[in-house]
């Protein structure tokens, strides 16, 4: 077991525990904080995959900006555990069963995939595709069109937000 395997283990446990915390915790603020921790753990995974740029962008965008806005809204609305609507027991139970079923199916599928990885694993083209230079090359050569289209996507989101948010 080398260092990166140990780190992988720690990060995975951290990600899973904090993701569970998002769902389980009664207080929405704690949920958001747990989500931030999850994003950090996932960024750690990215760094282990040598995708440092992706890791940092993940932190800037999710932990630094989106989650801060989440915190903003939740803190201003002052949601507490008492205000949270109580769902019926049956609904919770049904949700639990459904989630369990999906989990089982996914585990079964992935179990088969594990045998497959011995023979025909999905291989990355190279170990350093996540570095910013290679990423930039890929984005501005092969994927320049989707890159531009995604800027149009942001334009539409922006126009939509302004339309909904503007004063009369």
């Amino acid at each position: 077991m080398n260092i990166s395997q140990i780190l992988f283990g720690i990060l995975t446990v951290l990600a899973l525990v904090s993701a569970l915390g998002v769902v389980v915790s009664k207080n929405p603020v704690y949920s958001v904080l747990c989500l931030i921790v999850t994003f950090f753990a996932i960024s750690g995974h990215y760094i282990l995959l040598n995708a440092q740029f992706l890791a940092i962008v993940n932190i800037i965008v999710y932990a630094g900006a989106i989650m801060v806005l989440f915190l903003f809204v939740i803190m201003l609305m002052n949601l507490n555990a008492e205000v949270e609507p109580q769902k019926s027991k049956i609904l919770k139970f049904a949700g639990f069963i459904a989630g369990l079923c999906l989990f089982l199916v996914i585990v079964a599928a992935l179990k088969n995939a594990d045998e497959k990885t011995q023979t025909q694993a999905t291989q990355l083209a190279g170990g350093d595709i996540g570095l910013i230079k290679n990423l930039g090359r890929a984005l501005f050569n092969d994927y320049v069109l989707p890159f531009e289209i995604s800027s149009v996507l942001f334009l539409s989101a922006m126009v939509g937000a302004v339309v909904i948010g503007k004063k009369e």
């Binding site: 904080l33 932190i59 800037i60 630094g64 989650m67 915190l71 903003f72 910013i132």
Partner: protein, 358 residues
């Protein structure tokens, strides 16, 4: 000649000759941690003293002058007092988050230290996305502030935290854009590359007026991001008693206080690295004789000199400009600084492509 670079290398050699690589890594990590915490403590002491002295100078008074010569031990005495004080946790506060927040703020400040080059070859982690890393980490300090404000269960705290959040999230944009101008000129995000690119002159002088504009915007944004006057709405005494740390006392308050000064140091260090060449001595083009003379001054002195100059500038602002209103603050960012820096970035890109810079 002794340099920090040589010292680190000799330690590295000495350790790796005797121990296995894992242990070397461990011991070096411990050395780095000790050094970083030591730097934090010293910086805190110096900067607080400096702030009071600068303030006193601006207001034509003496400032601290009883404890030690020129009052240099005043901060140590204050720290001692803060350590001995009781750390109150208000009733109705969220106990865990209330006690957790100061550490978040502090840890974030520490993380941002990693890629800063203090001297030639003296850098904790020369990550290949250095400046991006710093701006990512500095955007996280707002989370600690928001937690502190919310967990205190106090309306002033919450208001202060909200203001601080809005302020940091918005000013991050123009700070990021002005950092990008230098990235565009250098063609790299790595701190060491950026510093080496300024071997024949600092970017502030090489990059014509657009870089000067970027520098000014960066300083404004840095002041705002560290919640310093005239952007200190998050802790505006006259409106919010003390903003997000109203309820904090004792050592927890000291941590916030320390983190604020560390953050100032970090943004100024980044500003010095990007625009003023970091540890790179003042060089003029290929004038070898002049450059050689400048090289006699150690690189660490260059770095700290530039950083402290910027810190002095930010302290100077505090006693020069009145505090902005919230709407003025946001108007300044979204309606002036952001469009200007976007356009400026475009200009710099043109300069970089056409190779018009020196």
């Amino acid at each position: 000649m002794y340099s920090l670079h040589a010292i680190t290398h000799s330690i590295q050699d000495w350790l790796s000759a005797r121990l296995s690589p894992v242990w070397v890594l461990m011991i070096e990590s411990i050395i780095v941690i000790v050094l970083a915490i030591g730097l934090f403590a010293v910086l805190g002491l110096i900067l607080v003293w400096l702030e009071r002295k600068v303030a006193a100078h601006m207001q034509i008074r003496l400032g601290p002058n009883r404890v030690g010569p020129a009052g240099i031990f005043q901060t140590s005495a204050d720290t001692l007092k803060l350590i001995l004080k009781e750390g109150l946790t208000p009733d109705g506060a969220d106990k865990f988050l209330f006690n957790f927040a100061p550490f978040v703020v502090m840890i974030v400040a520490m993380l941002a230290l990693a890629p800063i080059a203090f001297a030639n070859g003296f850098q904790i982690w020369d990550i290949n996305i250095g400046v991006l890393y710093v701006s990512a980490i500095s955007s996280l300090s707002v989370i600690g502030i928001l937690i502190a404000g919310w967990a205190s269960n106090n309306k002033y705290s919450l208001l202060g935290a909200m203001r601080s959040g809005a302020q940091i999230v918005s000013y991050e944009l123009s700070a990021g854009l002005s950092i990008l101008t230098i990235v565009v000129l250098t063609g790299s995000l790595q701190i060491s590359d950026i510093v080496h690119a300024q071997q024949n002159g600092w970017w502030l002088f090489k990059g014509h007026i657009p870089v000067v504009i970027a520098f000014i915007i960066f300083i404004i944004a840095a002041t705002a991001e560290t919640n310093r006057a005239p952007f200190d709405l998050a802790e505006a005494e006259s409106e919010l008693t003390a903003g997000f740390h109203t309820e904090y006392s004792g050592m927890k308050f000291a941590l916030f206080f320390l983190a604020e000064y560390i953050n100032i140091f970090i943004v100024c260090a980044i500003g010095a690295t990007l625009f003023l060449g970091g540890w790179m001595p003042f060089h003029i083009g290929d004038w070898a004789q002049f450059n050689h003379v400048m090289d006699y001054i150690p690189s660490s002195i260059w770095f700290f000199g530039k950083t402290f100059f910027l810190i002095f500038l930010i302290m100077w602002f505090r006693w020069t400009f009145p505090r902005l209103r919230v709407d003025q603050l946001l108007t300044l960012e979204w309606k002036y600084l952001l469009p200007i820096s976007l356009f400026n970035l475009l200009l710099v890109t043109v300069i970089a492509i056409m190779n018009w810079h020196f």
